[in-house]
Symmetry: C2
Subunit: 408 residues, 2 copies
């Protein structure tokens, strides 16, 4: 049963309630991510997410962990280019404490000493990130593909931006982004709407009123090749980016299905062409939809000597799909896979939460599992043909990390 309400301060409250569920999941979806940061504050959204767990005037950092633990909560948080999400799953009787704690996360007190300590943690995280070829390639790809666009930067920020960040700048950023109209409180599972509303008013009602702007410029990827030379690596890591529909496009379901047909980790075109015969260790294509932009990302890891021919083979797969489309049999198999993933994910309230909050944040819409399955099942070979006409599979941007000095 779906419910929606807007509090006087602008916070949206969403609920998909089911009296037969055994647990309840709650979370804040905050419209605050890497794309909202000026370059000098790069990484501040993610840093803020860490600071959230340090508590407020009532709760110390230790209290936060202890109380989440006492109620047996499974909880976590993450930051992306577009949002910061805090969530927890608990038994129904612990929902009030869970909402209290989650709400506390959205208004941390930001103590000086903890800020300095956590800054070191973030700098270490950046260091570890830079040790991983996949992370380095991903950041280089985004930077080249979205050059000059808000989606270009690394979510963690840089040593310079984080090293130079002041607590005052973080406080100002927090005050500007964690305002009513940027907050969604979503609840899924076993709860009563009256209880959800009352908890929302008590806790989410304390967020300051406010609105913020988020520009959605169209990206214009210039087409680029970035090669990062790491002679110590054994494998060559290659990432390829192409244009795809954004999160408001009606083509996004077809794009999701196409990515499974072409690049799923098993049984896809790229799997049979490159992975199964042992030409590379991994070769997958995935689809990511942002507000106002979308990207197909192909990830490839292989022996450096075979990198060039493997990239050519990926292009060959793309060309074949663009020219001849996909078969009805491929479509049917991919529908089975995607339907199974939708259903298995939706079986627990915690799995439904992401869909509830994400659909509202992206499109202001509510979709049941049945709606999602119906959207999937009605797709035809012609829909995929139309998608390919508008967004052919292409290599627009290339980023490579490993022992090759250049890649073209």
């Amino acid at each position: 049963m779906f419910h929606q309400h807007t509090l006087p301060n602008g916070v949206t409250v969403l609920a998909e309630l089911d009296a037969d569920a055994h647990s309840v999941a709650a979370g804040y979806f905050v419209r605050c991510g890497r794309r909202d940061e000026p370059e000098e504050l790069a990484g501040v959204s993610h840093f803020l997410e860490h600071m959230a767990f340090k508590g407020d005037e009532r709760y110390s950092a230790e209290d936060m962990n202890r109380v989440f633990d006492e109620i047996g909560a499974r909880y976590n948080a993450y930051t992306s280019h577009e949002q910061t999400v805090y969530y927890a799953a608990v038994l129904p009787e612990h929902l009030p404490v869970a909402v209290d704690l989650l709400s506390t996360l959205t208004r941390p007190v930001l103590r000086d000493e903890e800020f300095d300590l956590e800054k070191q943690v973030i700098l270490e995280e950046i260091g570890m990130h830079e040790d991983q070829p996949g992370s380095v390639a991903y950041d280089a790809l985004n930077e080249a593909h979205f050059a000059g666009h808000p989606l270009a930067g690394s979510i963690l920020g840089t040593n310079e931006s984080i090293g130079g960040l002041s607590i005052e700048a973080m406080r100002d950023y927090h005050a500007s982004r964690y305002v009513g109209s940027n907050l969604i409180l979503a609840v899924c599972g076993n709860a009563k709407w009256e209880e959800v509303l009352q908890l929302a008013e008590e806790h989410a009602g304390r967020a300051p009123k406010g609105e913020t702007d988020r520009p959605l410029p169209e990206p214009h990827p210039p087409g680029a090749v970035r090669t990062i030379y790491k002679p110590e690596n054994a494998q060559q890591t290659v990432m390829l980016a192409g244009n795809a529909p954004g999160n408001a496009s009606p083509l996004r379901h077809a794009a999701e299905l196409l990515s499974v047909i072409v690049g799923d980790d098993t049984g896809s075109r790229l799997f049979w062409e490159l992975v199964d015969p042992g030409r590379c260790e991994a070769c997958e294509l995935s689809y990511t939809d942002f507000a106002g932009a979308g990207m197909y990302l192909t990830y490839l890891s292989c022996d450096p000597d075979r990198a060039a021919e493997n990239v050519a083979a990926v292009r060959g797969v793309f060309d074949a799909v663009n020219e001849r489309g996909i078969t009805a049999e491929e479509l049917a198999q991919a529908k089975n896979k995607v339907a199974s993933r939708i259903v298995l994910r939706s079986e627990r309230p915690m799995g439904r939460l992401g869909s509830l909050g994400g659909n509202w944040q992206d499109r202001g819409e509510y979709k049941t599992v049945e709606d999602d399955l119906a959207d999937l099942r009605r797709l035809t070979v012609h829909d995929l043909r139309d998608l390919l006409t508008e967004f052919p599979l292409e290599v627009v941007t290339t980023a490579a990390v490993g022992p090759l000095e250049t890649m073209s």
Copy 2:
């Protein structure tokens, strides 16, 4: 809704069906594991699990993967000391194919060429296992603690036993263990009992009739310290074993709760005493119940210079618990944690499957989620006191891996 039936060949068919579930999970629980192996065949159960995915007369290895993929199945398998489990979760309409494939896994054709290739894979797996301090310490601990007992050996086997294994010996072992009375076919989620029965008769009904013996000698841990010197490691890895109730003991629920209070990864006695103050990187106590035996296992990873004092601190925590028991507050918190885990795990058919098959295999019983929660909630401080009287927390066996040459 619970159903149970025994086929003429001895296979047990179990089902917990729910017409409101969106998926269905099915699995075989095979009473065949490391404890059933003569030493010269050490690791054959696990090796067989790998060979299962190579198919039979109808299906090649490629077919197996392809068909699981086509129906969008999430599937896997594992081998323990006591059992081998094969399972899959699918949308309800794909149950017939899933049961067909799972049943195929229980009667692989065992082709020579694939046997030789897979043997190399297993030997590589043993090599990787030996690179991991935790795995080395765990195997050394079991070997010392269960000396002379069927639970002593490593599940993977050894280079010698696997290297010397013949396909004929594997065939004989398979023929002796994969017989009707050792097989449980369990189904959870959205299906009809008539359909389950019919699929079971068609596919599980083909298993050969047969019975096998499994001796359950009582272990008599001699008390031992094993130190494996690895000067190249930065950290000292220490594992401590103590006696605990077996899987038929009515004390097992109390033992599970005690392990959470004393050694959960957050908020436990060991956490506050050793991990939170930074004395070690990790310190956790877990409880494992076997048929006819049980073990508390404490895992500790720390700077080698602090290993001795940390082990002394663990003993101090054990002594305090043995002498003064645990508090009502600790009990209440641990019940919240365990209840939350039981419920969150049970929300999907795939999560219920392990409980359904395991309870039947271990004790021939069926327990609903509500039964499990009721068993948990009725435990008192006195029950934990009784448990500690019969099974005090002790360090019986020690295994250490790292830069220390000796540990006492």
